[in-house]
Amino acid sequence: MDRQFVIFTLADESFGVAIALVERIIELRSVARVPFAPDFFHGVVNLDDRVLPVLDLRKRFGFPAQPPTRETRLLVVAVAGVRVGMRVDRVTQVLTVSDADIEPLPPIVATVHSHFITGIAKVARTAPESEGMAQAEERRLIILLNLRKVLSTDEKAALQGWDYTLADVPEWAEDAAPEMLTDLKV
């Protein structure tokens, strides 16, 4: 079976989230910081007159912070009714990946804590998204994220004493009803 993923980068690493979970991709906008929040909690922004919480995925995954660039985007995802924006460095493409190309968990993933990951997709490099990257390898790796884990806070240590509660998000649903992605602007 083929699945579609929205691919984005963080510190030159590629990540994918199931397209059905992505509502929109928007440009970074004015963020109101929330006091006492964990540092990966970027703040809240106005999305269509509603207040959207935003996580800084760089900080969530422990990459060094980086000021926003022209390409910084907010990936608006909805998992089990919880709507959240995820700040990423760059959104690159929508990619169709065959199940056969997804491997469960690799022995070594250095950059991201393994419980955020559902699998690794090995895909052939294609011309359009190879810009600025070495053409050396034939295949590249995309880390497929377990959004439920990314949105949850098992690690109380990170919470700096703030009663940071997250809605209970069910097991990341591969079988979530795919929603049409209408305004994907990559």
Binding site: S30, V31, A32, R33, V34, P35, F36, A37, F41, G43, V44, V45, N46, D49, R50, V51, L52, P53, V82, R83, V84, L151, W162, D163, Y164, T165, L166, A167
Partner: protein, 704 residues
């Protein structure tokens, strides 16, 4: 696998179903409680019983309509019991009222089955049986003693057999749980227009149900020349005493008898065997035969006001839209100012100003109207509490007078929804822990019955709800001791608190969990939860208590949750909104001399040392000074005053409160957020929470 119940109701109808059912259940319950209070004097309880009866009657119809036979059946029995009570042939004993209240609770469980679609397993037949036993016992007694002066002494020879069609109809009623009564009556000899009296009686009986047969027939009655006795078979869902009462009201009736009429079973059974295929196959059969008996007329339509029921969600959506309109209008005013600054006064800018102020007026009115539409009397909530108090008092073996005041006070329905739990908490505490036992009270020379008073009133744009008891009060010494034991603060710190501050410790988290604290202080079950909930509403809770005389909890709540008057301030790079209700005064820092007292910044303001709380430090935004002229916003919570140091004052603004995402938990000092005219998000300062957190931090020597 569990059974799944099927009901004749669409998912989108469930909300309305619940609303209706709850309304009727509450009416039944409050009727019962009033009946209990009135001591069952029929004259005093007539109105409550009538309301309860009507509610049961309508509820029965609703239950039948959604296809919930157990619910319909139980409601039917309850209805009959209410009727018997109303007619005075059943006495409202404590046991009966208990059983009826239990029946109402059972109905609640049955109601929930419609939502969950899972059988609750609750025993309905036993309850119905108990009530029916009660009814038939009472009926026997009542029939034996009722109206001897009107007893029928004619012969019963007029009895004739029922026709086939009449039998069928009678049987249909019996299957539906109605009763058949055989009635004989005659007019007084020499009465004026005796036949008209019989016709009148016949009409009166028709009000109770349906006449299966009567002899002479109604049409014939007026053609008769001489007085004859009237014989009637009446199908009705009422009992004999009701029928008798109905007849007793008619003048010039010589005597009557009301006897249960038993259908000849074998005859009926044979008929039904014949009748069923007939009614199915022959379209020519009169409708009357096949159709279910007509439901008795409902009386719910009486006294209906000119109102429309509206879905709460729709009302909320309307409020949100109005909120956005208010924001838009603010934005328009900003554009207007910008245009005037840029181009000066001209025809166009003047026209825009006029338009803007006209629009503003309409928007204000619209907002006011929608706000009004959301207002409901707090009686909606308060009406649930007499039952609560009664149950808690019973369990605790205490005698309690429960007084409700100001139940007509109106507030936003969203507020009403959210203060239910805190009030339940406070009321339960008041009875359970606040009031002493009857023996102790008597020994102290207090009235044996304790009083719990619940009142609501408007005060300066807020609604104030108080829960007052005349019990033992809260001993600050015990609270201090308990707080030290719980490690909430040091012995020294505890000793420094005055009585009022010490008492307020009962709202601290962790204070409540220790059981021994509850025993010594008589308080403290989850009061921190009460405070948290009230705070979440932008309100505050305080307590006043005198040992031996009782305690008063005071909840101060905003009228509405949707729109808030605020002062916008710059704090570093952020904008915060401070609710005007918490603000006493705003000062420019430059006009004041800041002193250091024990290392903390204060200014001397209105004769007191006002501690300054730099918001940027408190919220840990390390931005450097934000835009504007540094200022101090003096805020108050109870007797406490604190000056919030901000980087600049932006101005007053009416904001629409937006809910934070569920992802964001409880942030100290923040109650919510809003979207400003320029599209930015601003957080709303929770003044009580901020002061509380700041005071705690001061005790630990960090801020202030």
């Amino acid at each position: 696998m569990r059974d799944i119940l099927k009901f004749d109701i669409e998912d989108n109808e469930i909300e309305i179903f619940l609303q209706d059912v709850n309304e009727h259940l509450e009416a039944m319950e409050s009727g019962l409680l009033r009946l209990e209070q009135d001591g069952g004097e029929p004259a005093e309880s007539q109105e409550s019983l009538q309301t309860a009866f009507r509610a049961a009657h309508t509820l029965k119809a609703i239950a039948a309509a959604v296809g919930h036979p157990r619910m319909a059946e139980l409601t039917h029995t309850i209805e009959n019991t209410f009727e018997a009570l109303r007619e005075g042939w059943l006495r409202p004993t404590a046991a009966l009222i208990d059983e009826l209240l239990a029946a109402v609770d059972t109905l609640r469980v049955l109601r929930d089955e419609v939502v969950t679609r899972e059988p609750s397993g609750i025993d309905v037949p036993a309850l119905i049986h108990w009530l029916q036993e009660m009814l038939s016992e009472a009926m026997d007694v009542s029939t034996a003693t009722a109206g001897p002066q009107l007893a029928w002494n004619g012969d019963l020879s007029s009895v004739i057999a029922l026709s086939e069609e009449q039998l069928l109809r009678a049987q249909a009623y019996v299957e539906q749980g109605w009763h058949l009564w055989e009635i004989h009556l005659a007019a007084k000899p020499g009465a004026f227009a005796p036949l008209a009296r019989l016709l009148q009686a016949s009409m009166a009986l028709m009000e109770l149900g349906e006449i299966i047969v009567q002899n002479p027939a109604q049409a014939d009655l007026l053609n008769k020349e001489e007085t004859v006795p009237l014989w009637v078979i009446l199908a009705t869902d009422t009992y004999a005493p009701t029928v008798e009462a109905q007849l007793r009201d008619i003048t010039d009736i010589d005597g009557f008898s009301v006897q249960p009429y038993t259908l000849n079973v074998s005859e009926a059974a044979v008929l039904s065997e014949v009748a069923e295929p007939v009614s199915l196959t022959e379209p020519g059969l009169p409708e009357e035969l096949t159709a279910a008996p007509p439901a008795p007329p409902t009386i719910t339509g009486l006294g209906r006001e000119k109102t429309v029921r509206i879905d709460v969600e729709r009302l909320d959506a309307l409020m949100n839209l109005v909120g956005e309109l208010v924001t838009g209008r603010t934005r328009l005013a900003q554009v207007e100012t910008m245009l005037r600054n840029q181009y000066g006064k001209g025809t166009m800018t003047t026209a825009l100003s006029e338009l803007n102020s006209d629009l503003g007026r309409v928007v204000d009115q619209l907002q006011e109207e929608v706000m009004q539409a959301r207002m409901v009397p707090i009686a909606q909530l308060f009406s649930k509490f007499p039952r609560l108090i009664r149950d808690v008092a019973r369990t605790a073996h205490k005698e309690v007078d429960f007084v409700i005041e100001g139940e007509a006070t109106e507030l936003d329905r969203a507020v009403i929804e959210l203060i239910g739990d805190p009030l339940v908490h406070l009321l339960r505490n008041a009875v359970d822990h606040g009031l002493e036992s009857t023996q102790v009270r008597t020994a102290m020379g207090k009235a044996a019955r304790g009083t719990v008073r619940l009142s609501a009133a408007h005060e300066e744009g807020n609604v104030v709800i108080t829960v007052q008891d005349d019990g033992r009060g809260i001993d600050p010494a015990h609270v201090r001791q308990a707080a030290v034991q719980r490690g909430l603060l040091s012995e020294d710190a505890a000793a420094k608190l005055d009585a009022h501050e010490a008492t307020a410790l009962i709202f601290e988290p962790n204070f409540s969990t220790a059981d021994h604290v509850t025993e010594v202080s008589g308080r403290g079950v989850g009061l921190d939860v009460v405070r948290t909930n009230v705070k979440r509403l932008g309100g505050a809770v305080t307590v006043d208590s005198t040992i031996g005389q009782g305690s008063t909890f005071r909840l101060s709540l905003p009228l509405t949750l949707a729109i808030l008057q605020t002062m916008l301030v710059n704090v570093g790079a952020e904008v915060y909104a401070i609710p005007l209700t918490g603000i006493i005064e705003s000062l420019y820092l430059a006009d004041w001399k800041v002193s250091r007292v024990r290392g903390k910044s204060v200014i001397y303001w209105r004769g007191q040392a006002l501690p300054l709380l730099p918001l940027q430090d408190f919220f840990a935004h390390e931005d450097g000074a934000g835009e504007g002229k540094p200022a101090v916003v003096v805020v108050a919570w109870g007797k406490q005053r604190v000056g919030l140091r901000v980087d600049g004052l932006i101005g007053k603004e009416e904001i629409v409160i937006k809910s934070m995402s569920p992802l964001v938990g409880n942030v100290p000092g923040i109650s919510g957020c809003t979207i400003l005219g320029d599209g930015r998000v601003a957080l709303i300062v929770d003044v009580p929470g901020l002061i509380g957190a700041a005071l705690q931090a001061r005790r630990q020597g960090e801020v202030l």
